[in-house]
Subunit: 309 residues, 4 copies
């Protein structure tokens, strides 16, 4: 360690300098803007080497080391990179966003200032139907006519609430009270600062299929337009070992080791561990069984209960 | 330390057991409910004694030790107590509440479930005027007639938005999207778990005069109806050394040491350090000067620029 | 939600009450003692139901819901349980332990108090050899004679340092300075309070094969003797979905889908993605290749490069 | 807010660039090195203005705003600055340092690498005596002869432990076990990254008179040589409103308002609230009374019980 006591130059990523301050548009009126960053892939390696010292010399190169750290969930070196964004987000999404506690936040205060005069609007073709299977999800869109009606009514609602808000301000009502009936679709703005490890955790959850479409759009922009440029090796490792990975439980491991070799034993275990149930004479997957089927398909393994019954 | 290895009984506070599960009402439809707690004043002492060991024997008693810890901001022993509440709060307040990051939270999800069919309503006499002096505050109420008009319009707005929300659900719109124009006044519910140190920090900020009236009501209920019973010694120490304390800056200390002894020097320093400005021939306080005046009044010291000019 | 506003009884786990205060021994002079706990499996379910509301009614039972939450890394309901332990640990282990930041801690201060007069001692058969493969690990033990010599020398070192410490105290040296040459093996004590989610994270890392043997012993005691009694359903789910799980990366998924069906394609991909290298005419696994082999063995899948060359 | 969407240049502080990478020496072999930083005074203002919007326009200038934020403990804008240091610190100090949990850390691992071959040594004139009054403090030095003896014995102890460590490594003992009897004075190194708000909190505690001399030296170097250059306005505000401030409790405020005006009432209250006790016929201060006396002296107010009895 003592050999790096010479003068340092500050880490700089040319591709990041290029987009500093640029508002990358999201939704109808939102954005993500890069304000500042600290460190890059090199800084992850630098921090890992202080921890592991000569222990890391055998790692063939920086990319290998970063991939090793990601694979083995050695998370602290990733915390050595920090990023600051300026975002404009509807409040209903912000309510989800703010649940990630390991970040520094300065949000526009509607006690101090008048609220942003803009709410997230929905085009007729953007209305989604409630999913029957996934209680927290959506599935497919509404028909054209319904979409038009919903959008028309949305405009009515937003106009009316805007009128109410302005009326209150004109009558001298305190801003902290006037805002109380603003719709959740009202845009807010914030400075949001977070380290790379926690940002990747945010992205893993919010780029996921199960995340709400709108927040997924923010997460994708942050991941693909910013993080991939900032720390390309860490991003690649994240996509390989985390975003694109699957986790197999203890039971799933056992079942997989039986499939194709002891079909009867596999079937028995599937039923005993609750992946399948027998309904009349038909073998059907449970919720967890359907999740296993999706993993097997990704693994190129035939789903055992297909065609049974 | 080794002498306390015998069997323990779990800490139990009879006054807390009595209010377990009871919904203490706040606002028109909100509440705070005690769900569980860990520890009491004794646990603070117990933890402090593991840290300071025999060093604490000289403290005359538990109360003295707790007061010493509070006075010297030795915060870790207070973290050894934990409390869990169930709260029902309008979303605009919840947006402030959730900014306290060192807490565990489970909030009702309006992606999974239908939103609570209740919004915070305002009586005609509850509407407050925007403060001229304090940009984030309110001051005084509106006149009766205006209050009635504001409440009538609030009812209209809330009814309309409720209609819109129900209409969307009936048309099959996904809950995650249907909720987007709910008013911020809509109630939400959450389990909220926090340690005593961080709870007192929350209360110090939210029981403060500068906090919004509505969140102050929640904070007062939590402080006065729950914390004061749970950890009476810590609560008393908090009121004495924190809530009821004032902080004097370096300049304020110097000025105070001059007042009554070297009036001219005090006046000079007040002006030089920006507590007063001379406007025409009149000496007037700045923002920071007004803050100092409030402190001097609490200290029984005459405000030097009173009656000057 | 509103239907549970009636009176509550505090959650109590009889099996936990039995071990309250009991010092469970670890190493030669360490221990773990349960001081208090908040919640149990029921509390996880209770918190999840406030979040997901009626959305959880379809879950057949509490066990099913807890397993679902664990499987899908819905971590916040697990944070609703809290535990407080009193531990006695050598300082070199404590230095690892304290790296888990999301806990409340009160440690014995050797500024206030005289240090504990006990250091971790090593029996002749407990000395382990440095692993050649794993830079941070140990592998096998030393021979009997060497073990005896090492233990003899350990005694000499610990006695000498004890003498030095006592000499300093006798000469009136400040405790904060007298302690500076105590060996890292000196025992310390602390109160340690943490929520269940973060405790399970601690256990996942510290019960792992790669963790140092000594801290693994603490983690196992905490897991098997305490957590398994406290929250039996969450513990079972943790063992199934987390401790006993394996993670397959994007490349591993692809390779697995090729094995047994397109052997040549699998071999090609293994080499291209860096799981194997060709050394002379022999196909050999890389570090990541060895990790994959271990996963394949658990999955009952033949390792493709076995017997190649 | 929308008017700042143009291109940004990254914040750069010339005085900080000059010291990047330079090892600022502390103690006999320690150092603090600046590795990187994010933001400066401007960034605090920038973040505050997104929160308070037009509400901040009335603040005459940036300095005034920063001072207002510091005075009113509006801490979040200070979190928008981040700094990364490389430090070399004896392990006994590091054990205190690491208690500040809101930081990112990568420490040299003595499982992976051989420990640093250097321990903190003490010159004969550096040995301090245990304070009688302050259980956790030191007061005055030992005499020359004792100092020489202590230093001689320190050298013996450190040499012996070094020998033991090397012997173990030569015999092939695993590094994770070989290290167990290293003295706490052994140097360690770490990368330490923290936001400005939490750094100032660290400095407030560790630059304090009551902090151990050695850690105070690190804190002073960080504060005076680095932070004062990085964020000069925030540093000045910190020194005025936090480091140089005093806090008066509710009772102290009341007593101060009585002194000089109702001496008898003040005396009565001092006794009733436990600041003084009557011992024989003498009025003596308690521990809290001595603390009050120190505050009164700073305020230029005569201590009421002086010369009483």
């Amino acid at each position: 360690m003592s050999d790096d006591k010479e003068r340092l130059d500050r880490v700089r990523v040319p591709e990041m300098e290029e987009i500093l301050g640029e508002a990358l548009p999201v939704l109808d009126d939102g954005f993500v803007r890069l304000i500042d960053y600290m460190g890059t892939d090199d800084s992850i390696v630098q921090a890992a080497r202080v921890s592991y010292g000569k222990g890391t010399r055998t790692m063939s190169d920086d990319r290998g080391l970063i991939r090793y750290l990601m694979r083995h969930r050695h998370t602290t070196p990733f915390e050595m990179c920090e990023i600051k964004l300026h975002v404009r987000v509807p409040m209903d999404l912000w309510r989800q966003w703010i649940r990630h506690r390991t970040a520094n936040v300065n949000e526009l205060s509607t006690r101090y200032s008048i609220a942003i005069d803009q709410a997230r609007t929905t085009r007729p073709d953007e209305w989604r139907l409630q999913s029957d299977i996934n209680r927290q999800g959506s599935e497919g869109g509404v028909d054209v006519e319904t979409g038009q009606r919903l959008t028309r009514r949305e405009t009515e609602a937003q106009s009316f609430l805007k009128e109410i808000y302005e009326e209150r301000l004109e009558l001298g009502v305190a801003r902290e009270q006037a805002r109380k009936d603003l719709p959740l679709s009202t845009y807010t703005e914030a400075y949001w600062k977070i380290d790379l490890h926690n940002l990747l955790h945010f992205l893993a959850l919010r780029m996921d299929d199960k995340a709400q479409l709108e927040i997924r759009q923010y997460a994708s922009i942050i991941g693909e337009k910013i993080v991939s440029k900032w720390v390309p090796m860490a991003w690649e490792a994240f996509m390989d070992y985390r975003y694109g990975s699957i986790i197999l439980s203890r039971d799933e491991i056992r079942i997989l080791s039986l499939i194709n070799r002891q079909q009867a034993a596999a079937d028995k275990m599937l039923s005993e561990t609750g992946f399948t149930i027998k309904d009349a004479s038909e073998v059907k997957p449970t919720l967890e069984g359907r999740e296993l089927a999706a993993k097997l398909e990704r693994l190129g393994v035939e789903v055992p209960w297909k065609g049974k019954g």
